[in-house]
């Protein structure tokens, strides 16, 4: 009998205690309503723009050289004699008068704000940099971001950290790593002589475009006499767009998509697997991959006057002489190729 009572008591406790605890918690503590940033608007140059705004609102620095941003920051003024004497610069660099052109490489532990142009010598290391026109010589390393309202030029073997952006033109040298890039025009691992800029292609209205399902290869059989296919493509398989073909619609593949040499896609390319744009291939819309993206020599995404994106869940590789008009993002980072191995 006692055993039975004990069992019943144990049952009542095991059943009732969690309920009592939950009821007490419900009564005593308020829930945390999940926060949605109602005013959030996407800005691909957010880092540079918000930092500029913060600095400009906080200027001038006080008599002790402190600038009050989210917290007081000791400032370094490059025009002061001996300001950059040490190889490591601990303060926030404020280049308010003239261009910022240090002769020797330094390690900048805080951000660099330049009211005008900036040019860092080879081997420089910095946390973040904003200015008008920016030039980074070879082997520079950025920890967080770099943003220029004018052209931004990056030499070979650099690391661009989290984000590099420009209001006009972003040029990356060979073997340069990045995570996010943004500019109306991005040139990647382009030879000094470069390739001529693309001429805009008028893209026809795509609404109600017919769809071809489950192709594995897009070839002349599906195209008109010009090699054009006036349809969008949706497939569960790996898809190849054969050389020189033109797809006027969008492409969506559950697996990989390979756009072969000199093929052209007017619309977007979405792939569950990897995307490969071979030599000279062009996609005028967006490229989005749940895997990796690789652009062969001379391949490009987007076109002048428009903004489009290349996004990969894994990595992005630009072999060389590539152009992207807009935004590039690779969750696991991307890199430009070496001219020596591009062919």
């Amino acid at each position: 009998m006692n055993e039975m009572k004990g069992t019943l008591l144990l049952f009542a406790l095991m059943f009732g205690l969690p309920l009592l605890l939950a009821a007490a918690y419900c009564r005593l503590r308020k829930s945390k309503v999940l926060h949605i940033r109602q005013d959030y608007v996407r800005d691909p140059r957010y880092f540079g723009n918000s930092f500029r705004r913060m600095v400009q609102e906080a200027l001038p620095a006080d008599a002790e050289g402190m600038l009050h941003l989210s917290r007081p920051e000791q400032c370094v003024f490059p025009e002061d004699a001996g300001a950059l004497a040490e190889p490591a610069v601990d303060g926030l660099v404020l280049a308010l008068k003239g261009e910022f052109r240090p002769e020797k490489p330094h390690v900048y532990h805080k951000e660099i704000y330049c009211a005008q142009d900036a040019s860092l010598p080879a081997g420089s290391r910095f946390r973040a940099l904003c200015g008008h026109r920016i030039a980074l010589a070879r082997d520079c390393q950025c920890l967080r971001w770099v943003d220029g309202s004018g052209a931004v030029t990056v030499g070979e073997d650099c690391d661009l950290g989290l984000s590099a952006s420009s209001g006009k033109l972003l040029t990356l040298g060979c073997r340069t790593g990045f995570q996010r890039l943004y500019a109306p025009e991005i040139r990647l691992a382009m030879a000094p002589e470069g390739l001529p800029p693309h001429s805009p292609v008028p893209v026809p209205e795509k609404r109600n475009m017919p769809v071809l399902y489950d192709l594995r290869n897009l070839s002349e059989r599906q195209s008109d006499s010009r090699g054009h296919v006036s349809a969008s493509l949706i497939t569960r398989w790996n898809l190849r767009i054969l050389e020189g073909m033109t797809v006027e619609g969008d492409i969506s593949g559950d697996r990989g998509v390979r756009v072969m040499k000199n093929a052209l896609v007017y619309g977007n390319v979405f792939a569950g697997g990897d995307v490969l744009l071979e030599e000279g291939a062009r996609v005028l819309g967006n490229v989005f991959s749940q895997g990796s993206v690789r652009l062969g020599p001379g391949a490009s995404v987007g076109q002048p006057g428009e903004i489009h994106s290349v996004i990969a869940r894994r990595k992005i590789y630009f072999a060389g002489d590539n152009r992207v008009y807009g935004f590039v993002s690779a969750l696991r980072g991307g890199t430009t190729g070496d001219r020596g191995d591009r062919r």
């Binding site: 940033r37 893209v203 969008d250 935004f327």
Partner: protein, 421 residues
């Protein structure tokens, strides 16, 4: 013979509950440890689609300003968008207030419906006929979209395979009472884990009828919403998947909603959902099984999802059967190692399988202490079981009699914008 039937039913219910437990567990593990698919929200493009935002409204004078003012703040190019509030047989000041907005903003074009059938599907069908946008985005009148939400939803349609996009709903009145707190937990588990796991797995993320969008042309070509089906969102999900389209889930496209604040209102809402969902079950069971477009995992998940609002009724009957067997002295239906199955079912009962998902979602959302409330979901479980079962029988009666359904609108709490903030 009767005893054998009852015992057979017990085997069925044990198997069913174990399958659903495994399903929830699999989704949870996938969300925690599996490969997470990216949504298209990071895309920046200058070729955005034209959209029409439809807001069904029936006597919404208390909340409509919240939704419209929030939409006016959105960063979508106004040349590419229009807002069509659907004044559906309102008897309060809804129509008058909408005309005030129209006089200030050309692109807010109210549709006043005073004749014809009332209800969300009928209202949406009428509005789609006058909508100019390529994409239809739907919000309920009590929702408050964030500034970038329209862009987030619209970007999904850059993919030609996508027929609908679904965002995430977050209750803003979670602190009102115990019911709203528990609904908040359910919402968290349902979106953060269940929907995202389905998206990750390439299964069947569900279009939820609001905070989402779909392609107008496809819907009009296929006859618009079926006005007799009360779960027009679930019906659209299955129509799309069985015809070769995809539904995307955008976890980052978040929007506040108002949860029901009384058990009575919640009960009626759940009963309507159950009725509509089971109507879809009766229509789409075979098309889902035999669709040439759906993959194996989509079919499997699709069938599980179709039965979601039938299972509580099966479970309730299972309890009645187990009690009958107990009092008849016939409960010894399993012995030896088979008892493990019983334990499994008992365990899934004790945990109410979705608990895995709710608990995990609370961790992912950064509110792990809320897991203390999990035992209280037991009350919802029994409450829902009853109302879902009623909804199931409503749906059966709909199919048998062919009667016309009547939309039962969820009543709003009186809530000012300041209270929302």
């Amino acid at each position: 013979m009767v005893i054998k039937l009852l015992k057979g039913y017990m085997f069925f219910i044990i198997g069913l509950m174990l399958l659903y437990t495994l399903r929830h567990f699999y989704f949870t593990v996938q969300r925690l440890l599996g490969r997470q698919k990216l949504y298209y929200g990071d895309i920046i493009t200058s070729r955005m689609k034209t959209i029409s935002v439809l807001i069904p409204m029936h006597n919404e004078e208390l909340v409509l300003r919240n939704a419209l003012d929030a939409l006016l703040e959105c960063d979508y190019d106004r040349a590419l968008m229009e807002i069509i509030p659907i004044n559906d047989h309102s008897t309060d000041r809804t129509g008058e207030m909408l005309e005030e907005y129209h006089s200030k903003y050309d692109f807010i074009r109210p549709l006043h419906r005073h004749t014809g059938r009332r209800g969300k599907p009928s209202g949406l069908n009428d509005a789609m006929k006058i909508a100019k946008g390529e994409i239809i985005v739907v919000f309920d009148a009590d929702y408050r979209p964030a500034r970038n939400l329209l862009k987030q939803i619209s970007l999904g349609f850059e993919d030609p395979h996508v027929g609908a996009v679904m965002g995430r709903v977050i209750p803003y009145n979670a602190n009102k009472n115990m019911l709203t707190r528990l609904i908040s937990l359910e919402r968290s588990g349902g979106y953060q884990v269940d929907q995202q796991a389905r998206y990750n797995l390439g299964a069947v993320p569900q279009y939820g009828g609001t905070v989402g969008g779909f392609r107008k042309d496809y819907l009009l070509e296929t006859g618009g919403f079926r006005e007799n089906i009360l779960a027009e969102d679930t019906e659209l999900t299955y129509r799309l998947f069985t015809n070769g389209w995809k539904v995307l889930y955008a976890n980052s496209a978040e929007c506040y909603e108002e949860s029901p604040e009384t058990w009575n209102i919640r009960g009626r809402q759940i009963r309507r959902w159950s009725r509509g969902h089971n109507q879809v079950l009766f229509h789409y069971f075979f098309p889902t099984l035999f669709s040439p477009y759906m993959t194996l995992i989509q079919k499997l998940d699709g069938i599980f999802l179709l039965f979601v609002y039938a299972v509580p009724m099966f479970t309730m009957v299972g309890w009645l059967v187990s009690m009958a067997l107990f009092f008849l002295g016939e409960m010894n239906i399993m012995s030896g190692w088979w008892v493990i199955l019983f334990l499994g079912v008992y365990d899934s009962f004790g945990n109410f399988a979705p608990f895995f998902e709710v608990g995990t979602s609370l961790v992912l959302d950064g509110t792990p202490k809320e897991a203390t409330l999990l035992p209280l979901l037991m009350f919802n479980f029994f409450f829902y079981m009853w109302h879902i079962s009623l909804g199931f029988f409503d749906a059966v009666a709909d199919v048998v009699t062919g009667r016309t359904t009547v939309w039962d609108k969820t009543a709003r709490a009186k809530r000012s914008k300041e209270a929302v903030k």
